[in-house]
């Protein structure tokens, strides 16, 4: 077995433990020395030549340096979760203006889906006609509404609303009492 394939094998084991693809690794550290994976992960590993008696650290940061890429990645994630996005350009523009909401939006959607797994979520930027204000709205649409619907919305909201307290921008969770649209 060559050195490269031994290292690659170790890298692959670590990556599979990490549950990540190589492009998501932000730092690779061997015995205290950090290698920035500006180059591809495998190349760094081979160049840096770790042995099995060295300590290896893989690090992944859940926010990049590009706001646009972070927002685009969030929008793709939301679509994969089945969230219907009304006017993506507007939502993107809003999140680029209030980037602190990128992470809160992710958490808000997870909270709603946990409390209302059967709901169809619809997201848009709402423009208040009375005052010059706009905010992000997530509508939870259900096949049937009952007394617990609003309680569950409130329970989901309570999971993320504190995160908004020191931030500009707003995310409102609500329902428009419509039926879910078919895909």
């Amino acid at each position: 077995m060559t050195v490269a394939s031994t290292i690659s094998d170790r890298s692959n084991k670590l990556l599979s433990w990490f549950g990540a693809s190589s492009s998501k690794i932000d730092a690779w550290e061997i015995d205290g020395r950090e290698y920035v994976p500006a180059v591809e992960f495998e190349t760094v590993a081979i160049t840096s030549n770790p042995s099995y008696n060295q300590t290896v650290i893989l690090r992944r940061t859940e926010a990049g340096n590009s706001l646009f890429a972070d927002v685009d990645s969030l929008l793709k994630e939301l679509q994969e979760q089945g969230v219907k996005l009304l006017s993506q350009q507007e939502i993107r523009g809003y999140l680029l203006s209030f980037p602190a909401l990128i992470d809160v939006t992710r958490r808000a959607v997870i909270a709603v889906l946990r409390h209302m797994p059967e709901a169809q979520l619809v997201m848009e930027v709402y423009h208040d006609p009375e005052i010059e204000d706009s905010y992000l709205v997530i509508y939870a649409r259900l096949r049937e509404y009952d007394e617990s619907s609003l309680e569950r919305i409130e329970a989901a909201e309570s999971e993320y609303i504190d995160l908004l307290s020191d931030k500009e921008g707003w995310i409102q969770l609500s329902t428009d009492f419509r039926e879910p649209e078919s895909a």
Binding site: A38, T55, I57, A63, S66, F68, L75, Q79, Q88, P99
Partner: protein, 244 residues
């Protein structure tokens, strides 16, 4: 001087300086830097950044840790440009509409020279200049080859309709000192808008080759390469759309 467009497709340009561990950094740095650049970047925001770490050591085996840290975002008054500050990290971003290289470079110079006044920067781990372009294809039924010289080639034996795609190439520059990462992919709303993302990332690979004093010269050189790469990627049909 590269070509000038009246409607450039740049949605974000990013310049990143990542400092090595030999530079002392503490929690006072963001405040000190803010004092120096607050005229250009008066609005403060903070983002919580989660970091996941997997450690494999001979004695402890595998350990996974999740940490959170704060990143400070300093915005200009119009929120179209910002400086991000994290531990040993300085990032300067400009958003759409792209203000021109001259103005972006001035922001980079302001932020970097201010950082050098408050931190004794020793070694740079990474410098990167990245341009993200969002391009809405003018004709929805036209092939990518009408607009790009860099695109996924799909042979005739395969379905020609694509829902999503990503194509990426990395190339060495400056004798291996630098590297470019070029990516063309579908935007999140590709199905409705036929928008694609052309992402050009040019970065320093040889960490010890550029001193902090040489960093801005490197950025200028990087910009020339980014321009060449961009022009190499597109055809005259897009140049016309961008308003040459």
């Amino acid at each position: 001087m590269g070509r000038q467009y009246t409607d450039p497709p740049v949605v974000e340009a990013i310049c990143e300086f990542k400092l090595a561990r030999d530079t002392h950094w503490d929690m006072t740095v963001p405040g000190l830097l803010y004092e120096r650049i607050k005229d250009s970047f008066p609005q403060k925001e903070q983002r919580i950044v989660q970091e996941v770490e997997l450690v494999q050591s001979p004695s402890e085996g595998l350990q996974q840790q999740i940490r959170t840290s704060e990143r400070m975002l300093l915005f200009s008054e119009d929120k179209k440009s910002l400086v991000q500050l994290g531990p040993r990290l300085l990032v300067i971003n400009v958003l759409k509409p792209y203000p021109s290289w001259k103005k972006f470079r001035e922001l980079i110079e302001t932020a970097w020279s201010s950082l050098l006044k408050v931190v004794d920067v020793r070694t740079l781990d990474r410098i990167g200049l990245r341009y993200i372009n969002e391009i809405r294809l003018p004709k929805k039924d036209a092939g990518l080859n009408e607009y790009f010289n860099f695109y996924p080639y799909i042979g005739s034996g395969l379905p020609q309709t694509m829902d999503t795609f990503v194509v990426r190439v990395e190339s060495p520059y400056a004798g291996g000192r630098d590297r470019s990462r070029l990516q063309l992919s579908t935007a999140s709303d590709f199905r409705e808008t036929k928008s694609v993302i052309l992402d050009i990332d040019y970065f320093l690979v040889d960490q010890s080759s550029i001193s902090p004093e040489e960093a801005l010269g490197w950025v200028e050189e990087a910009h020339s390469h980014v321009e060449e790469i961009f022009e190499g990627c597109i055809t005259d049909s897009l140049r016309e759309k961008f308003g040459e």
